[in-house]
Symmetry: C2
Subunit: 287 residues, 2 copies
């Protein structure tokens, strides 16, 4: 039986705290102090990625995803990229530590992600850990996050088609989520067909996340969102509501949840429950 | 019997060509074109790292070291770091492709290094591949290359002590060389004691490389070097001859070769020969 939704939120909060503790231990404040300060500043600030599975086997991957996500935010915020001074209300990494240290802190976090999984994953067969490392790599590299960011930068100030918008979101947002879910399945010893189903599921909810985000931006007030509403309109950003209209965007969201849940039909209830909840949670979030 | 030195040079040239071919295949020109062009531009331009061992087992690590080395050069050349416009007579990556693409190309190369080793190493037990990945990571991250670069940047315009100079070189130059030799030993199934001996050897020749470089800069003409001589003096860079005098620097070089070769005494001749030659090659190079 799926857990009621409020329990799922509590469960996620608990997991996120565990990941934060593990990250705190994985990046202690050591010499050289400056780069480790910069790494910790951004790494321990954010919301946390989650990976399903036994703690000793899944925690290093959960930490690695968080290190990678943090690296991508630090580098994306740089003056030569998106030039952001604030993230989650705090000054961005390069504002606090300087551009040189911010770049190096990102490089160190990206490196540590792979090193951490290779050195700290226990109770999983080494060939599955290698598979998970390759999966992580493909999510981040020139066909993953980096591909999304480069196309995003290139599309600035141009008219973006729906296909391009999807390409950017699939790569910038959905790839890490996909890696998180797929790595969980790999470490759990899933077969190839299961892993492909989980991958399809993850692609749907990755896109869903962005569609819902775009819809909330135009349908909610700043108070409801807890952040400035309508800023996509102000910045003339390409969004789903803008490119396809709000009604079609809502229809797309509904279709994506349905598709995602369809992929779960092949798994037993106990295994599918957290993924089922995650899809509904993303679809129904109000801020 | 060790090979005569001229054969060793031919052997290195042949190996470097093999690595270059493997890199060409590992990073094909694919979509998104811009980031792959930027990756290939710097990756295929440089001199090549070598890793001893059977080709199918050692080549992915050799490629990974080259990807990592290239990433570190691309990021170090950025305006906010060393601000270099030229590298090996060619415009640096950010001059050709822009800072944003250069940062992303570096990120993609760093990522691919780990993914490539995880996905493409055959004929080696997976637990040894994981060990090699962890070794690579520790050579690059906040206690490796990144540590060297951050201390180097921080020491700019300050008086650098001999201990700081050594810290910078051990991390910026010697760590990758160490990883290269140690990964070779890991993949070859070396035991812990062998690996520590190889690590000590690599540390000595890594430092040796820099000491010899510094000596050549003040003792050779530009024609002999094939690059501008005396530029360390002009830029007032901290070097071994500057901090300890030319005679002591030469004495240090002799001691480092002797120490390096001492570590090899425990290995059989066939295995030690390439490492023995490498030490002598670095010690006796004239440009």
């Amino acid at each position: 039986m799926p857990l009621p939704i409020f329990q799922f939120e509590e469960y996620m909060t608990m997991k996120a705290k565990q990941v934060n503790r593990a990250l705190d231990e994985a990046v202690p404040l050591q010499l050289p102090v400056k780069v480790h300060e910069a790494m910790r500043y951004s790494l321990l600030a954010g919301g946390k990625q989650l990976v399903e599975g036994d703690e000793s086997s899944a925690m290093p991957i959960a930490c690695a995803l968080e290190m990678i996500h943090t690296m991508s935010l630090i580098h994306d915020d740089l003056p030569c990229m998106d030039n952001d001074d604030l993230r989650r209300g705090k000054p961005t990494n390069h504002i606090v530590f300087g551009e040189d240290t911010a770049i190096l802190a990102g490089d160190a976090l990206l490196t540590l992600a792979f090193e951490h999984v290779a050195a700290k994953t226990f109770n999983v067969s080494p060939d599955l850990v290698l598979q998970a490392i390759a999966e992580l790599g493909s999510a981040v590299g020139s066909k993953g996050l980096v591909a999304g960011q480069i196309v995003d930068i290139d599309s600035e100030g141009k008219n973006v088609s729906l296909a391009e918008l999807e390409y950017i979101h699939v790569h910038k947002t959905a790839k890490l989520l996909e890696a998180s879910v797929v790595c969980g399945a790999i470490m759990g010893g899933g077969n190839m067909i299961d892993i492909e189903r989980v991958r399809n599921y993850a692609r749907c909810i990755g896109l869903l996340f962005q569609v819902v985000d775009d819809i909330l931006d135009v349908t909610k007030s700043s108070t409801e969102l807890g952040k400035t509403a309508g800023k996509d309109l102000v910045s003339d950003k390409a969004t789903y509501p803008k490119l396809m209209g709000i009604d079609n965007a809502k229809k797309l969201a509904t279709e994506l949840v349905a598709q995602a849940i369809e992929e779960l039909a092949y798994f037993d209830d106990a295994r599918a429950a957290p993924l089922y909840h995650l899809a509904n949670y993303i679809a129904s979030r109000q801020n």
